[in-house]
Symmetry: D2
Subunit: 202 residues, 4 copies
């Protein structure tokens, strides 16, 4: 099997080196991808100066262009996001806004540069919101050219209005662990078949 590569963008509000539940789940996805010959890295957006805007480069020290290069080099993009007030984090939406620029970049066959890449989502919160967060991110990433495998999300949330963090659970729940395993298998499979069989010219 060909080696594939993945980029996990973690959109926690917490800068490194502090612990982060969404970072942990994102790392678990990355670990599970290794089983399928996918190497990669995880980056916290909050550690970088990603400027507001919808262009490729907003100037003034904007660090998105360097992250974009990593995204373009990867076969698989995973957004690992916390849930805040039931929504993806503001940094998830920041990434989505920057990816909006991809709608204006095409290869010499008229295809978006994201075509053929696959995407997945990892969502974590104290309680409630994972399905909606994945809906928002699925739609945004599909709109800008990513393909989504079956079961393109792994997640954990606790019971309504409880306060324990994913990273403070005594162990990873089997349900989430199993879902992460499936997500990684499906991401790797779809990325591999799309790499071997690119979308037709537009």
């Amino acid at each position: 099997m060909d080696q594939l590569s993945a980029l996990v963008l973690c959109t926690t509000l917490t800068p490194s080196p502090a612990r982060s539940s969404s970072h942990l789940l994102g790392q678990q996805v990355l670990d599970a991808l290794k089983e399928h010959d996918v190497t990669g890295e995880i980056v916290r957006i909050v550690d970088h100066d990603v400027k507001p805007g919808v262009d490729f480069d907003m100037g003034n020290g904007d660090e998105w262009p360097a992250l974009r290069r990593k995204m373009l080099d990867a076969d698989i993009l995973v957004i690992a996001t916390p849930i805040w007030v039931g929504h993806p984090s503001s940094l998830t939406q920041r990434v989505i806004e920057r990816l909006d620029a991809e709608l204006s970049a095409e290869d010499d066959q008229g295809r978006l540069l994201t075509y053929g890449k696959v995407a997945g989502v990892a969502v974590v919160g104290n309680e409630d919101g994972a399905h909606h967060v994945s809906a928002e991110v699925f739609q945004a990433l599909d709109d800008v050219g990513f393909s989504l495998p079956a079961g393109a999300v792994t997640y954990w949330v606790g019971e309504a209005m409880q306060g324990t963090d994913y990273q403070d659970l005594p162990e990873t729940p089997e349900t989430t662990a199993g879902t992460t395993t499936t997500l990684a298998a499906n991401l790797a499979h779809l990325a591999r078949v799309l790499k071997a069989n690119p979308y037709p010219p537009s």
Copy 2:
């Protein structure tokens, strides 16, 4: 204090007399409203033949007109809905579609007939989805003329991917019970002040 009235529309997929978690939570809201001199009733949409469509009366035995009369007679409308695949139930959306017709009915001051009525939401699922469901229902009910008090939702969901129903919990969680109490207090307060102080003519 003036007596107020409430209508709880329960949009479970399960016909009476079978038990239903959303019916239970809707009934708990109704019970909590009684503490504030609000009387009312709970109706399961699935027990009635509410036709698809966006008119006041779709004919052919459509039972919405009778339910609509109850809604127009009430000061407070509560939608008590289950979560399916992260969304409000199809019967919640059925009710929303029928309420869409209210945009074409005005009183002699040019106000929608729903103006001055207040709305709340009760959401229940095995796991995940309550915030999104309330977002969908808030927007729809506000669009068709209802006002929303602070904290206009009560809910319960379990931990990610678990399967116990709200109605099978050994007891009502204190968090949900407290939220139901607040919802009822705020619904009754806002309904009372809006009844005494109607929106201005349009």
Copy 3:
């Protein structure tokens, strides 16, 4: 190229034989799929007695089991839905609820029966709501096992608060027509590569 098959489920609230904008857009997707050797059919849910519930067969004349067989026979599923009050129609959510049962059906390799099938969405409304509707449907269909190609939606809506229907436009807007063409090409491509390269056993 192998012949593929598609099923378009149209979730308009309007029974046949009356005209329907979402039926028109769904038919246009089907026509565009023919260019890629995909045959298929379009079915209006409102013409059938699809019972509320989340089981494979709700009994009492439930027509979902016959529609489900069509879905299982198809390589591609397209949901063609109107927008009501900013949401997918109640019949879209009815279909989603019935598809929820697929989470309990597996082949002899432990994969959902939907695995390997691809899905797309066609959305139409007088004004506003297409992106959100696609988000809701993407998440639901991905959750129950479908894969989504890049650009998995075509849509039309008019300017804010305007009232003309898609089916009454003097001609199909070029933007929507082009998006429909891309949707069909991507659906056919992804369905073909996944049919030749099934997801691994679970």
Copy 4:
């Protein structure tokens, strides 16, 4: 009538002094509020260093505490947001995350400091997304203690996939102008009756 005050938080991605469509619509809401003896101001979040996080003060020059003071001094909060990829802007979500802290602040009667304040939304985009954006913002603001009048949103979007900005239209469409007028009337009315009739102690 008592004088009331309003704060419009504009969450455009474009810093001052450049023109902004969401700023224009937010200003129009402010102008319409003046007719009801409501004074106020509009602030662009992007002009300020509002740090990521969910505390009252994230330190390091965080400018949210000063904005929060304005919010606490106002009777009415309006979020004026652009639509990006179908969602509220990243700066809208940033504001929502900062407002999440309000859940931990109470007056001496056990009520959130936001109780009694009312909220509205102004949404603008090239095309599609206003209803969903208002759903997201309604739910978030209601969750943190704001009340919502009937018709709590004004908006403009163009036809599907078109590119003209609201600020470049030859004139404000009558539909949007009328909706802005209604929003202002309802915000002012609800703020006034809630100021005279506060929610009961918790």
